[in-house]
Amino acid sequence: MKFIIAIIKPFKLDEVREALSALGVAGMTVSEVKGFGRQKGQTEIYRGAEYSTNMLPKVKIEIAASDDLAPQIVETIQQAASTEAIGDGKVFVLDLASATRIRTGETGDTAL
C-alpha cells in the first residue's frame, strides 16, 4: 500500500476531490498548511511594518491507497490540481506498512 501526500492550492480542492471520486477513491484526510517555495506571497503592511512572507496557504491531502491505484491517484491529482502557474504544489508517495479501520479492526487494502 502507498501513503500519498499532496500539497495543492486551496481553491483546487473541490476539483481534485471530484476527480478522485470518479476514480473510486472514497476516503481522504485534508488539512490546512502553509507552504514555502518558489511562489512569492503578497506583501502585507501594517502601519509601516512590512511583512513579505512567502508562506502561502495550501491544502494538504493524505490518501492511503492500494499499490495498484496509487499511480493513477498521483496522476489524477497532478492533472486536476494544475493551473500551470508557480506554486501548484507537489505529490509525494510513501510506502505504507499497514492500515487498520478503527470501526471494524479490518486491516490491509480492505481497510481503506
Binding site: F11, D14, Q42
Partner: protein, 440 residues
C-alpha cells in the same frame, strides 16, 4: 436665528403633519428649542452612526468569506465618510436647500449661513431643533444608504470603483430622492406619501440600486459552485443586534422630537422586529428546514426595514403583522426566488432591503387605517393612499435604477470596476488593502 423655507421645514416623517407644520412656520413668532428634543436627536444621530460602524460593517462582513472581511468593512466605512463630506459640501443643499422644485433643491452649499444658533423646524408648530443636529441626523441617513447598496457587490468590486460609484450615486440618486420624500415641496412629500423614517429613500432606493449594480458587475467566481458560507455568523449576529439598537435612532428619531410619536415609533420598532425574527424561523420550519441563526438575523433586518415607513404610522399590532408578512416574503425571495433567477446579490441587499422596503411602503397605507389600530384620521381612505404609495415606490424604483446604471458605468470607465481574477481568488483583503483580517 435663521429660518428656512423648504429645507428643514419638515424634516422627516409622516407627511400628514406637514400642513400643520407649514402653517405653524409662518404663524409662530417665537419657535423654541427644547433641550429634551435636542438631546434625543443627538442620541438618534449617534445611533444611526452605530448602525453603520460597527453595525452594518459587521452584519455584512460576517456574511462574506474570511478573505474579504476587512475589505467589506472598509468599503462601508469609507463610503460613509465620503457621504458625510459630500453632505456638508452640497448634499444638504441639494436635498434641503432653501430654493428648489419637486426633484431637487439648492442653496446652503458648504452650509453657508448655518451656525450653532441656526434652527430647523420639526412637525410641531413652534418647536425647533438646532439645525446642525438636523444636518447631522440627515447626514447619517445618506451615509448608511450608500453603504447598504454595497451588500450586493462585495467580494469582487474594486475599492476605487466603489468610491467613484458612491460619489455619483449619492448625487444622482440619494440627494434627489431624499428631497422628494422629506423636503416640503418634494414630489412625494406633496403627494402625501407616508414614509416615517425612510422606507423609500433608504431601503427601496438602496435595495433596487443593489440589484442593478450586481447585474452590471456580474457574479462572483465560483458562485453557486464553491462554498461561500458566511465566515462568521458571530459577527453577523453582533451586527444584527447593533442594527436593531441603532434603528431606534433611525425610526424613533424620525419623529424629530422626544414625544408620543417617537414613543409609538419605538414600540413598533420593537414588536414588528420581534415578530419578523421569529416568523423567518417559522417559515424555515414550514419549508422543511431547521430554524437558523442567520434566518433569525435576516428576519430581524426584514422586520426593521418593513417597519421603517410605518414606524409612527401604525399601531403595534399592525406592525406585528407587517413584520411577519415582510419576513415571510423576504424569506421566499431570498431562499427560493433568488437562487432560481441566479443573479448574485451577494448579501441580499435587494432581497431584504428592496423587497422588505416595498412591502413596508405599501403595507404602511394599510396599517395606517384607524380600523386596524393605526393613527390615521377617522376619514382615512386606504385606497387613495395605496395609489400614492405605489406611485412613490414605482418612481423610486425607476429613478434609482437609472441613477445606478449611470454610476456603475462611470465607475467602470474610471477604474475598471472589477478586481482581477487573481485578487478575487486570493481575497480583496490582501489584494486591495494588503492586509489579512485575522492573523491568529
Amino acid at each position: 436665528m435663521i429660518r428656512k423655507m423648504i429645507g428643514g421645514l419638515a424634516g422627516t416623517g409622516a407627511s400628514l403633519f406637514a400642513a400643520t407644520a407649514a402653517f405653524a412656520q409662518e404663524a409662530a413668532p417665537a419657535a423654541t428649542v427644547d433641550k429634551g428634543d435636542t438631546a434625543w436627536m443627538m442620541v438618534s444621530t449617534i445611533l444611526v452612526l452605530m448602525m453603520i460602524l460597527p453595525g452594518l460593517a459587521l452584519f455584512y462582513g460576517g456574511l462574506t468569506r474570511t478573505k474579504n472581511m476587512i475589505a467589506t468593512m472598509t468599503q462601508i466605512g469609507a463610503v460613509a465618510c465620503l457621504a458625510m463630506l459630500m453632505w456638508v459640501m452640497f448634499g444638504y443643499g441639494l436635498a434641503f436647500g432653501p430654493e428648489g422644485n419637486a426633484f431637487i433643491s439648492w442653496g446652503k452649499f458648504f452650509l453657508s449661513g448655518v451656525d450653532a444658533s441656526s434652527q430647523a423646524a420639526t412637525f410641531t408648530a413652534g418647536v425647533e431643533i438646532p439645525e446642525y443636529v438636523f444636518i447631522c441626523f440627515q447626514m447619517t441617513f445618506a451615509a448608511i444608504t450608500v453603504a447598504l447598496v454595497l451588500g450586493s457587490v462585495v467580494e469582487r468590486m474594486k475599492f476605487s470603483a466603489i468610491m467613484v460609484f458612491a460619489a455619483v450615486w449619492l448625487t444622482l440618486s440619494y440627494f434627489p430622492i431624499a428631497h422628494m420624500v422629506w423636503a416640503a415641496g418634494g414630489l412625494f412629500f406633496d403627494m402625501g406619501a407616508l414614509d416615517f423614517a425612510g422606507g423609500t429613500v433608504v431601503h427601496i432606493n438602496a435595495g433596487v440600486s443593489a440589484l442593478v449594480a450586481c447585474l452590471i458587475l456580474g457574479k462572483r467566481i465560483g458562485f453557486q459552485k464553491e462554498i461561500m458560507a458566511p465566515h462568521s455568523l458571530t459577527m453577523t449576529s453582533i451586527g444584527t443586534g447593533l442594527l436593531w439598537v441603532g434603528w431606534f435612532g433611525f425610526n424613533a428619531g424620525s419623529a424629530l422630537e422626544a414625544n408620543g410619536s417617537a414613543a409609538l415609533a419605538m414600540i413598533n420598532t420593537f414588536v414588528a422586529t420581534a415578530s419578523a425574527g421569529l416568523f423567518w424561523m417559522l417559515a424555515e420550519r414550514a419549508s422543511g428546514h431547521k430554524g437558523s441563526a442567520l434566518g433569525f438575523c435576516s428576519g430581524i433586518i426584514a422586520g426593521l426595514v418593513a417597519v421603517t415607513p410605518a414606524a409612527g404610522n401604525s399601531g403595534p399590532f399592525g406592525a406585528i403583522v407587517l413584520g411577519a408578512i415582510a419576513s415571510i416574503v423576504c424569506f421566499y425571495m431570498v431562499t427560493i426566488v433568488k437562487p432560481k433567477l441566479g443573479y448574485d446579490d451577494a448579501l441580499d441587499a435587494f432581497g431584504i432591503h428592496g423587497v422588505g422596503g416595498i412591502i413596508g411602503a405599501i403595507g404602511t397605507a394599510v396599517v395606517y387605517a384607524p380600523s386596524l389600530g393605526g393613527p390615521g384620521a377617522e376619514d382615512y381612505e386606504m385606497g387613495a393612499k395605496l395609489v400614492v404609495q405605489v406611485m412613490a415606490v414605482a418612481t423610486t424604483i425607476g429613478w434609482a435604477a437609472i441613477a445606478t446604471v449611470i454610476a456603475m458605468y462611470v465607475a467602470k470607465a474610471v477604474t475598471g470596476l472589477r478586481v482581477t481574477e487573481e485578487v478575487e481568488r486570493e481575497g480583496l483583503d490582501l489584494g486591495e488593502h494588503g492586509e489579512r483580517a485575522y492573523n491568529y
